[in-house]
Symmetry: D2
């Protein structure tokens, strides 16, 4: 079966409006195609996703008009999942956030595998933004996906950014001719492809249920913390000169008897 990549385009613009992020996705799709990887794109904003915990999601009444089950099924049938998001307010888009939140609620182990549902899948990120925030957005997305079971290959973030300040986006700025973006796009495509196929032939064997059982044997089921309800005061002689406008802070001999880091 062909390796499959799923792109979640998290633009805020509904179809058929132009998305700045889509042309970069299209480049990735073509590069994947040359390596025998089939791609699919979901434009998230075109769908209704209920922002809710699992309990609500389960209720039949709501499930009727919630596209999340279908989107999740398509995520689960992909080998490579790439979140593609514009930057708004220095963050990923709210459409991306909704996806990440829904994924993060799937933090339970699949019983007969002893693994999170996304084990064996590979994650990547595409970010487009006028100016700043690609590393921040990518680091949060990839870390969250890593915690959910995705493998993060090296150099699996692709981004385009203009210089400081709001300005024209990827399309108007001819982002398709931007060297750094075109370069890291290839890094991402090649590494995601390699890892997806590697993991298909070599499934991760870790049994998280057994790990948890071993951990339980050496852990407590209740944990108590002493709270320091005293207000600490500046206690070092050398700070005497640091009061506001000449006021001296009192010295003290109090000390931490234990290491703090």
């Amino acid at each position: 079966m062909a390796t499959r990549a799923l792109f979640l385009n998290c633009t805020l613009r509904k179809s058929p409006s132009r998305s700045q992020t889509q042309p970069l996705i299209d480049k990735a799709i073509e590069l994947f195609r040359l390596r025998g990887v089939e791609s699919e794109v979901i434009r998230v904003i075109d769908h209704h996703i209920e922002q809710a915990y699992w309990e609500d999601w389960e209720s039949d009444a709501k499930a009727g008009d919630d596209d999340w089950p279908d989107i999740l099924a398509r995520i689960m049938s992909a080998d490579i999942v790439i979140i593609a998001t514009p930057i708004t307010g220095g963050m990923c888009s709210s459409a991306a956030h909704v996806i990440l939140e829904k994924l993060s609620l799937l933090d339970e182990l699949v019983e007969d595998r002893g693994q999170f549902a996304f084990y064996g899948r590979v994650a990547g990120v595409i970010v487009t933004g006028a100016e700043d925030g690609a590393h921040h957005v990518a680091s949060r997305i990839l870390f969250l996906m890593s915690r959910l079971g995705f493998t993060i290959p090296p150099n699996c973030e692709t981004y385009w950014l203009g210089p400081a300040g709001t300005g024209p986006g990827y399309i108007q700025s001819h982002g398709e001719r931007h060297f750094h973006t075109n370069k890291v796009l290839r890094y991402m495509v090649e590494n995601c492809t390699f890892f997806a196929r590697l993991l298909e032939r070599n499934p991760i064997p870790t049994d998280l249920v057994r790990c948890a059982e071993e951990a339980r044997a050496e852990s407590d089921s209740e944990v108590t913390f002493k709270v320091n309800v005293h207000t600490p005061s500046l206690r070092y002689r050398r700070v005497q000169t640091f009061g506001p406008k000449g006021a001296a802070a009192p010295a003290s001999d109090a000390r931490d008897p234990e290491p703090v880091g």
Copy 2:
């Protein structure tokens, strides 16, 4: 007494090497001067700062060649403190990190004021980087300073960035002609000046010692958490189709009886 601004230039280059961040600091100094604010710059990397907790710092043996007490005294005599840092690896420089860490260890209340040592002071940030990360760096620095008692005026971050990918810095890229940077620089200078003078005439009255005492009256000095040592399993019917390559995850009726958010 004139309002005073202190810039901590956190370049990794020692004097007299050229710092990319310094020309932007120089612009800020001139704008402050026009508003009657006196400025001082400390080039952090030229100094030896012991990376250590307070206990070690107190020891006379170490204090001999540690410039931190002098730097801290200059921070305490300033009304406006501006951390100016290049971006390395998507983060602030390690020189900036050392400063922030030393500041964060000053998280105790000055006894006769009932406030953190930095109350009444105003914070700002200058970031220069080839490509990305200014918002991330600024948000972490300003939040940490806010927690230590600094006031954060609106629009008190100034930054210069080129487009995606490593490239020439502020100096070679003529950052001094970059509109967004020149604009937000003025926002920062004007707002920091206004707030520094406002707080000098109107000291923050909050008595944190009294706050802590009130809190103590309604709090416990020990806190116990039940730990869920059972491994959760995917328990929703709708996930049946989400196993790897056709495997079905078992359904279950288990439920969270309580809200989680």
Copy 3:
């Protein structure tokens, strides 16, 4: 007119379900009341907010069932705006993200004031989560609000967290008896109250339009970056030993002639 605080409760649970964040908001409201501050709470998830750029928002067709204009009007009539959010997946909730994104799109100057719409208002944050992420969530929210014109007083973040790992929330864990949370809650309430009243009597005078005009006079309307389209290679003798399993990386004399930070 009384000082007014607005809480945006960003729980994912719709009314009348119990929100873990609400009891902490209720504590804040009572503390504000004692200081003469009137409070209002909006439960965001009970409302429909269109995730869209302004252009779409303007269209009459959509505006019909979009609660954002009303929510924004209530934000604008508040002196203190507090985003209260649970942590999901290490992030703020998607409900909070939607609010922040909508706010971030208001990044234009109000013409006859020469300021962003939120100048003169004060921001605070409340975070509840099972385990980790309060500082991250608070730093991103406060920085975004700072860029939009809000003033960030010292110690204006209140949070409750349990120890590492998912577990019972604020309500079941008796978060209302947690010393740190009760302490910083008071810091936040007192500082937000002080700053809101201070700024009402002393409006921020900064004219951002004039700042931009001054910046324009010394800036270019077009900016060109040279792109290094050559692939750098490891060029330092000392790395010779660092190849994989004994392979030597070649030495080179290439050097950066210019400072990079």
Copy 4:
């Protein structure tokens, strides 16, 4: 040859002081040993690492007392590299930051491999902190290492945290009995071991030099951005009511003709 793990203990306490992070590292070492992985620990703060760009590092004068070359050699001879850091001020320690910064300066391709120096190695993170910040610290460290060529297996972050507020650390709080920490520690050890051996038998084949060449063929060597030097003004009718205390913002028909996300 045995698989090798290197732990960089980034405590701020020099030997022989007790490090809170070390007992958790010791647990990891024992678990690795049971799987045939040999471990080594470097206590970073015991060493002198020059905070400098490569150019300075190359100078013979400085290299004399700089331990970085030796530490880097040991990193390069490891299959698994785990950054272990306490949290100070919500961040990793400055010792960890120095390591990350030095690593990030190694962002050049090894010529005869066409890959970054760290390709083929696996990264993990251990974080100990009194209260908050493990996800933030882990996400930044892992993302930076991913960009440098490390592979990030699923669930490769181990952390211990107490509840909100400063308090006793891992040792005094009996962190060694904390279920979540003991559980994710095993996830990390098993996944790092699996991936290190998998990549040894299946080296990543991606040729980054060729990727860059392909990218160059479709990219420009100079990029020009138009800068919007006009100050945007709030232009939507619906915002009329949002001025301060009743002032109306003027309407306008200006529109963005192009998508922004």
